[in-house]
Amino acid sequence: MVVNTETIAGKVITQNLGVVGGSTVRAKHVGKDIFASLKNIVGGELTAYTELLEESRTEAIARMVADAAARGANAVVNVRFATSAVTGGASELFAYGTAVQVE
């Protein structure tokens, strides 16, 4: 169970297992980069990059959940996301939250 609120409504947090996080750095291949820079001239949504971020986000969350599961947690609360552009085509995604035991 992953939420970005501090508590889970209807559940009681019994144990705090610390901060867990997952991150990933991804890039699209050069062809998609070139296509995106061409799309940039006319403006609008850059679908290749939207996809890229969607994939990275899913992966970062999955890693965070795996980290939490390794600590024996059954939920992650107060999840936050951070993005940083490392270089032009690549982006780093970081998801973090507090691993807890809930009942």
Partner: protein
């Protein structure tokens, strides 16, 4: 806009280089009657020739297509923006009808009286970019200062789209309400590399809940 000059320079340089190399190879072919000299020349200059040819082709294509795409942006980018805006209004209305109210809120969930059956994370994102024409208008506006309406409109359309996608994600996952919604806006282009793709990335996330 500055990159056109650079492209033209690359194009002319590579064209000159390829002409020089071609004539060099031709002269070597004519001058050296012995067949041992020719493969040496090709081995030496072949790769450079190939690379410069690729550059030349790319430069010609770029010099040809960039003005066309730029003009397309001049003519249609405003219209596309308005079209997306009116499309968003319709989609927003449809999802508000489905939920009975706007499902997104920044509340923490203490106001829910009946209790909650299930919770989970919902997220949606979009990468949205202004056209080079709009960037140029913004650049001209920056000289005079004040409001830069073009970029403001582009970013708010991106943000509205991210919010609407969040509503649609919540609808698809069957949540009744989305609590504690956060909207992050990040720049795709790092400050260290200002010439890259200019786009904003909007990411909206929240906690979906199902009422008991």
């Amino acid at each position: 806009m500055r990159s056109i000059g650079a492209r033209v320079r690359t194009l002319t340089a590579s064209l000159l280089l390829s002409v020089l190399l071609f004539s060099g190879v031709a002269m070597a072919q004519e001058g050296a009657s012995s067949s041992e000299e020719l493969p040496w020349m090709i081995c030496c200059f072949g790769p450079f020739l190939l690379i410069s040819l690729v550059f030349a082709v790319f430069g010609i294509l770029w010099a040809f297509f960039y003005p066309i795409m730029f003009l397309y942006g001049v003519v249609f980018s405003e219209r596309n923006l308005n079209r997306r805006m009116s499309d968003l209004v319709l989609r927003e209305r449809a999802s508000i009808e489905h939920f009975g109210k706007d499902p997104l809120s920044t509340l923490k969930g203490d106001h829910i009286i009946g209790g909650v059956k299930e919770t989970g994370l919902v997220y949606a994102s979009i990468v949205y970019s202004p056209s080079h024409w709009q960037l140029m208008i913004a650049w001209i506006n920056q000289i005079f200062g004040g409001r830069i309406d073009v970029i403001h409109r582009v970013i708010s359309v991106g943000r509205a789209e991210a919010k609407q996608r969040l509503r649609e994600q919540a609808q698809a996952a069957g949540w009744d309400d989305v609590l504690n919604v956060r909207i992050d806006t990040a720049e795709m282009t790092p400050a260290s590399k200002p010439k890259g793709t200019k786009a904003v990335e909007v990411f909206a996330y929240g906690t979906g809940v199902k009422f008991a």
